[in-house]
């Protein structure tokens, strides 16, 4: 697995049947976690754990599949949750998915189990930048265009989402990525001990 891949092909990812299925399973998982995987903060606000799904799809298949997963996952969650469509948020999530899904671009040896401090730092940066771009710019802009909502309110909602998502993606995403990477690691010289 040592051949050099161009950044472009890493961003596009491989589009075979596995990728299609991976996105579908990711979107389903996203929708399930959005509906059931909330962690309560106050009585009617909760953090959603769905945000880690695009991270995982990104690690496995690349940024574009991650973006699509987040977009469709959000769309499906809206559908099955029965709370109408909010394309502004779906698109925001897709943008975020793209950023956090960049893992194969900078952690080239993720599938050999390499995910060290350097990669974690880059990951944390993509999470923060991605959230700011997605929910600090894209979603409010779209909300304004689609629904011409008062910007102050949109900013408020977006800031809450931004903080919530970023903390889920950092607090849960990093251990999950480490878990995933360590499963890929080829373990040589394992010795039995007493």
């Amino acid at each position: 697995m040592s051949e050099k891949k161009s950044v472009g092909s890493l961003i596009l990812g491989k589009w075979n049947t596995k990728t299609i299925v991976g996105i579908a399973i990711g979107a389903a998982l996203f929708a399930v976690l959005m509906n059931y995987g909330g962690i309560k903060i106050f009585t009617n606000t909760s953090l959603t754990t769905a945000m880690i799904v695009d991270v995982i799809v990104g690690a496995l298949f690349g940024p574009l599949p991650a973006a699509l997963t987040a977009f469709l996952g959000n769309f499906l969650a809206d559908l099955i949750g029965g709370w109408g469509f909010w394309f502004d948020w779906s698109i925001g999530n897709a943008v975020l998915g793209f950023f956090v899904g960049l893992i194969p671009v900078y952690a080239r040896k993720f599938d050999e189990g390499v995910f060290g401090v350097k990669e974690i730092i880059i990951y944390a940066i993509t999470v923060i930048v991605g959230n700011i771009v997605a929910f600090g710019a894209v979603t409010p802009l779209l909300t304004y265009l689609f629904y011409s909502q008062e910007l102050t309110i949109t900013w408020g909602q977006a800031t809450a989402a931004l903080i919530g998502n970023a903390s889920v993606q950092l607090v849960l995403g990093i251990p999950l990525l480490l878990f995933l990477a360590s499963r890929n690691k080829k373990s040589s010289n394992l010795a039995k001990e007493d």
Partner: protein
């Protein structure tokens, strides 16, 4: 008739890209048109790899290096496209859930037609025809969630029957089915083989179940080579199966135990029709030499759990009605019954995950209602079927000590219990290994260890052996038996596997439609043909054998069990 070859391997080898050694080595094999072939072999021997070479997934989806040639229906697979091959070869895989892609039966059967852009009117006709062949015409509108595993397998088969495929390839089609459904599936495969004139290749661990209907040839694979290519009769006569770690049919083991000379017996593969006359004397005299001491050992340990008049439903109808039974310390119990009978529901009730709607469950006299899931979890441990659904940590030790940490136990106690659990499960020397390098069976042991460290009195194990070959099966079951014998842990097996119930448990509770049909010694339950029928179980071949020889089935099974356990105890 068998002149025309349809699959030909010539000096064929294959190496997966990520492997350093060949997985298939120098295969020379010819399969003729209209044959029905069974492929056997231990886990990891390369059976699925061979199957994937036939259907074209190798090299289409799996990269690797091919040497030699493999010609299927006139096409050299290395050069032919997967799509071209798939119009000749229909494949049914093991996981009936994963391969059900459509959202209804009709849609799933139509999937390959949709991909071929067949116009809808024509498609409907073809779907109807395929559904009729697999006997699912009345279920076309059903969604996958309403279907049993057996029905899903039928749908999978229906979905590959289009385009007049000539070859049908089954990779472990029986793995998830209960005994009767397994029988139905084998019947169906046989019928299609005969009526539709297909070449059939079956890869399966459950030899006895496949042999329920005739097969022409058995090919034994070991470490990527063809070890044996012979008829069922020949194979059963030999001792190769035991050497390879493949489970013999029970009646064959019984015959071999009796020291019968199998060389002259005709239709040995079919217990119903084999000629028993010349063997009868030998079997009968062996039976009387080993007649079981009928003094039954009655379980006398302390009463741990009492289930009293418990009813439960998931909302609509009653799934469990007025259940009553008692579990005593040190017992080995099997809970058996068909799919959907309520076995897993009972396990969840015992663990406090769901609570009875009526009646009560007590643990050591205390009503479980007063205990939290966590408290019950300290006494009754539940091991799920799929170990991947339980493992949350990278390192074996971390996984095993997780429950202790979550329960807030002290450091000393944690270290002590964890070390003990690891030693019990023979994982101590591997404690710092990552979980990802373990085999399925070893992962299963990790999950058991992770439950054992809380020192539960009762261990409930859901489908401990599903989808594993005999070697791993024996390994896991031997280990659980040890836990029971040496540490006095009570074990409840939830299983579809009659062999497991016979070989490893003393008592069986038979569930059927939410009722307890029987609660008795294993040998008694399994020799009662009425119970067998009502619970969707399969009559074991031991009963057939006993009937044919004129011996009492109940005693015959009991004698068999005793003899097997004795020989197991002696190594």
């Amino acid at each position: 008739m068998m002149a025309e070859p349809i699959i030909t391997f010539t000096d064929f080898s294959f190496r997966y890209k990520s492997q350093t050694e060949d997985t298939l080595r120098h295969i020379d094999l010819t399969i003729y048109k209209g044959e029905k072939v069974l492929i056997l072999g231990p886990s990891g021997s390369g059976k699925s790899t061979l199957g994937n070479c036939i259907n074209g997934l190798i090299p289409f989806s799996y990269e690797g290096e091919i040497k030699g040639s493999c010609i299927v229906a006139g096409l050299e697979t290395r050069k032919a496209s997967l799509f071209k091959l798939s119009s000749h070869v229909g494949t049914v895989q093991q996981d009936s859930d994963a391969q059900f892609i459509g959202l209804s039966v009709g849609e799933d059967i139509a999937f390959s037609l949709e991909n071929n852009a067949v116009p809808r009117p024509e498609m409907l006709e073809l779907v109807d025809r395929a559904a009729e062949i697999v006997d699912m015409s009345d279920h076309l509108a059903h969604v996958p969630y309403d279907l049993s595993g057996g029905q899903k397998q039928k749908v999978a088969l229906g979905g590959v029957l289009h385009n007049d495929v000539q070859i049908l390839l089954f990779d472990e089609p029986l793995a998830a089915l209960d005994p009767t459904m397994g029988m139905t599936a084998v019947d169906l495969i046989d019928r299609i083989h005969r009526e539709q004139d297909k070449t059939v290749i079956i890869i399966e661990h459950r030899l006895e179940d496949v042999l329920y209907r005739h097969v022409d040839r058995i090919i034994l694979i070991d470490e990527g080579r063809i070890a044996l290519d012979t008829t069922p009769d020949e194979l059963l006569r030999s001792d190769v199966l035991k050497e390879m770690g493949i489970r013999e049919p029970l009646y064959i083991s019984a015959l071999k135990n009796a020291g019968v000379d199998l060389s002259g017996v005709s239709s040995l593969e079919d217990v119903e029709h084999m000629d028993i006359e010349p063997l009868r004397d030998r079997i009968v005299s062996h039976f009387y030499e080993n007649e079981p001491d009928l003094e039954k050992h009655v379980a006398s340990g302390e009463v741990l759990v009492e289930v009293k008049d418990v009813s439960f439903d998931y909302g609509s109808s009653y799934h469990l009605n007025d259940m009553n039974f008692t579990i005593r310390k040190g017992e080995k119990i099997s809970i058996i019954g068909k799919n959907g009978a309520g076995k897993s529901t009972m396990a969840k009730l015992l663990c406090g995950i769901i609570r009875p709607k009526k009646g009560e469950i007590t643990f050591r006299g205390q009503n479980c209602i007063e205990m939290s899931i966590k408290e019950i979890g300290n006494h009754i441990g539940y091991v799920m079927q799929n170990p991947n659904q339980m493992i949350a940590k990278n390192i074996i030790r971390d996984e095993v000590e997780l429950a202790m940490k979550l329960n807030g136990r002290s450091k000393e106690e944690t270290d002590k219990n964890v070390e003990e659990a690891l030693r019990m499960c023979d994982l101590y020397s591997m404690r710092n290994w990552p979980v990802s390098v373990l085999s399925y069976g070893q992962k299963k042991r990790v999950t058991i260890a992770s439950i054992l460290c809380l020192k539960p009195d009762i261990l409930i194990v859901d489908e401990p052996t599903a989808g594993q070959d005999y070697r791993h099966y024996t390994e896991i079951m031997g280990f659980l038996e040890e836990l029971n014998r040496d540490y006095g842990i009570t074990i409840l097996f939830i299983t579809h596997d009659m062999h497991l119930a016979i070989e490893y448990t003393d008592r069986s509770i038979v569930f059927s439609e939410g009722n307890i049909l029987a609660d008795d010694y294993v040998f008694r339950v399994l020799s009662d043909s009425d119970i067998i029928k009502r619970a969707n179980l399969k009559q074991t071949s031991l009963v057939t054998l006993a009937d044919k020889t004129g011996l009492d089935p109940e005693k015959f099974i009991q004698a068999f069990i005793q003899e097997e356990r004795r020989s197991r105890a002696n190594g």
